[in-house]
């Protein structure tokens, strides 16, 4: 009989520890401009002392830089008198919040059941190759951020990719380069 340990070891895929390194942005040193600081202070001031405002404040604060660097989180935590650990917990839970700089356009590849069956994986692979980034990452020119998403409710046009506010349906792998060109 194989022991539990052996079983688990054989099923492990590799030795790499992925996704759990101490993130570099933990020591990011984004300095907000005076104007950006004022904007943040205003958002915090408007919500101070009220209950249940954290997500709302973070949502508004994210619009300042397009993401939530540590500096903003710490200021929100201090301003609302909420522990920093709590703020980060919320930020890291919701996919709508990002702790990394975002591109001008977010590309969301639907990997819901219908899109998946219709070849979403291949489209995603092609996008990764074209942009040379993984999901969750942003291109060096800060133009695109790649994400995967679950069903967007447009199964009739599967497979679907959403770029910015536009939905693109019935895509093939060959369509991808041309699609990206429209935004460059």
């Amino acid at each position: 009989m194989a022991t539990t340990e052996e079983k688990i070891n054989t099923e492990q895929t590799g030795n790499e520890i992925e996704g759990h390194e101490i993130e570099d942005e933990a020591i990011d040193d984004v300095k907000l401009t005076e104007e950006e600081l004022k904007e943040l202070e205003k958002i915090i001031e408007e919500n101070k002392g009220q209950r249940g405002v954290l997500i709302n404040v973070l949502h508004k604060a994210q619009k300042i830089l397009g993401y939530l660097p540590r500096e903003i989180q710490v200021r929100v935590a201090r301003g609302l008198d909420i522990p920093f650990s709590k703020v980060y917990s919320v930020v890291s839970f919701y996919s709508l919040f990002s702790t990394n700089p975002r591109g001008k356009y977010t590309i969301e590849v639907c990997t819901g059941t219908a899109c998946y069956v219709k070849g979403a994986e291949d489209i995603l692979k092609k996008l990764k190759n074209e942009l040379e980034i993984e999901p969750g990452e942003t291109t060096d020119d800060k133009l695109f951020t790649l994400e995967t998403t679950r069903c967007v409710g447009a199964c009739g046009m599967a497979p679907v990719v959403i770029i910015g506010d536009d939905a693109h349906g019935r895509l093939t792998v060959e369509d991808v380069p041309k699609l990206l060109e429209q935004y460059q």
């Binding site: 539990t4 070891n9 520890i17 759990h20 993130e23 920093f84 917990s89």
Partner: protein, 602 residues
Amino acid sequence: MLVTVTIDGQEVEVSEGTTILDAADMLDIDIPTLCYLKELNEPGACRVCLVDVEGDANFQPACVYEVTDGLKVRTNTPQVIEARKRVIELLLSDHPFECLTCVANQNCELQSVAKQYGIRDLEFGGERNKFPVDDLSPSLVREPSKCILCRRCISVCAEIQEVHIYDVIERGFGSVAAPAYNESLMDTPCITCGQCIMVCPTGALHGQDDTQKVWDALADESKHVVIQTAPAIRVTIGEMFGLEIGSLVTGQLVAALKRLGFDKVFDDCFGADVVVMEEGHELMERLESGKDLPQFTSCCPGWVKFCESFYPSMLDNLSSCKSPQQVFGALAKSYYAEQAGIDPEDIFCVSTMPCVAKKYESQRPEMDSSGHRDVDAVLTTRELGEMIKQIGLDIKKLPEEDYDEPMGYASGAGVIFGSTGGVMEAALRTVYERITGERLEDFELKSVRGRDFKEAEIDLKDGRSLKVAVARGTGNARRLIHRIMNGEAEYDFIEVMACPAGGCVGGGGQPIYSGRDKWLRMVEDRAHRAKGLFEEDGQKEYRVAHENPFVKKLYDNYLGDPHGERSQELLHTSYVDRQLYTHEERYSDKKGEPMKVAKKNH
């Protein structure tokens, strides 16, 4: 209102709103749990406590399900047992299998429940989380791969200590209880109290292990190895050997340490007596000048770091006197070295403490006023217990032996340092006598109504009175400080111990017990242990520090006046503003060093 519920065919009357878990407990039916800690952490997170509630389609968690009249519950069906097994297997499927080398081996709640449910094989393979080990803190080690998301550390840190280091970060499979950004505890305002260690059901949180440092020193013939024992050790080390909670084993402890090979066995309570002299005189000076009142005690490194991190404006109010551990260390490498004619360079100073924050304190860079590191290594009660077991001794069977001179004799005042309110009482015995010329009798702290701290007022018989307060647990300290800041109360002298419910007797270095009544039991245990300390106080010939003949000799022959030039240089220190989550004020030069990647399971 009382309601009747039926559990496994037996009826029981309980008040409405009781959980199934507690109702079953009244019938002596044990339902396993891994996350639940009564009155502290009741999130219904681990799902090991599943039971079958008649009429419900799904099994329900017993720890959060409140009973109603006529409720019928089965906890013993094969289906329930099967469901619990599945839950345990799922927890194990994302757990590293390093039990044999894990610090929690044989004292792990996950391990016990897996054994209880006869888990021999896992059906679930697949991916497992592998987080780096955070061992940069001098006090605590985090191994997040062993975290089962019970949330106990989050609760104790947020609700009891109000330090808020941990929360669940990320989501789904990748979620883990950790500081923000899963960064090292070194880079957070962690006060290193170690209460999270005490509640962790697995080996995900534990203390740093310094036993090897001590073995190495003992093996080094050129080293003169001395050890000081903290007051609280004498009432807890016995528990490591199966003695009743709170058993006082001072003499046997000394015997065990001598057999371990320490050249001199000294009493940290001697250091505590010296602290009483210093802190008492400091208080009298402040009362004279009216400056920097109230004076806060500074013998608890967790509290000191808490104050530095959250209330830096209060730093001038902290007594500048070092803690007994550091006072002792500084004296061991100056006074004792001179007396014994030993080069302080050759002295290796060990202390055994009920505390992991003391490890951090001993490594604070400024703690070297003797010209050498005041204290070279700190052992917790747990580590010392292990060392004694490794040389095959049972503390129960040892004869009682005496501490060595000149730093082994302490007054009763020094002994009660280990209990909450003890430092205060010890200092007041001396201060009161110096000011009034009379003995302080019947000192009693009274609880403040509706507050978790105590206070007292002492008439100094010259028109003045002394207002004092004691807070245990930094959450309570926070409320006390806000009371002062808001002008709701005025005090002259305040004792704070970072550990809740009893001070050092419930420290983060004390023996760890498993079980869901852990938290309540810990609170109870602490009371028993404190009783042990006051028992020793009562047995002492001298109960006030300034009458300790060895303390007198120290001042006459070496230090001069209490809080005088020499003692200020050697025994006093200063504090640093370490505000919350800033980048500039980091304590460690280790910052930016990569954490250890878990060695195993690659």
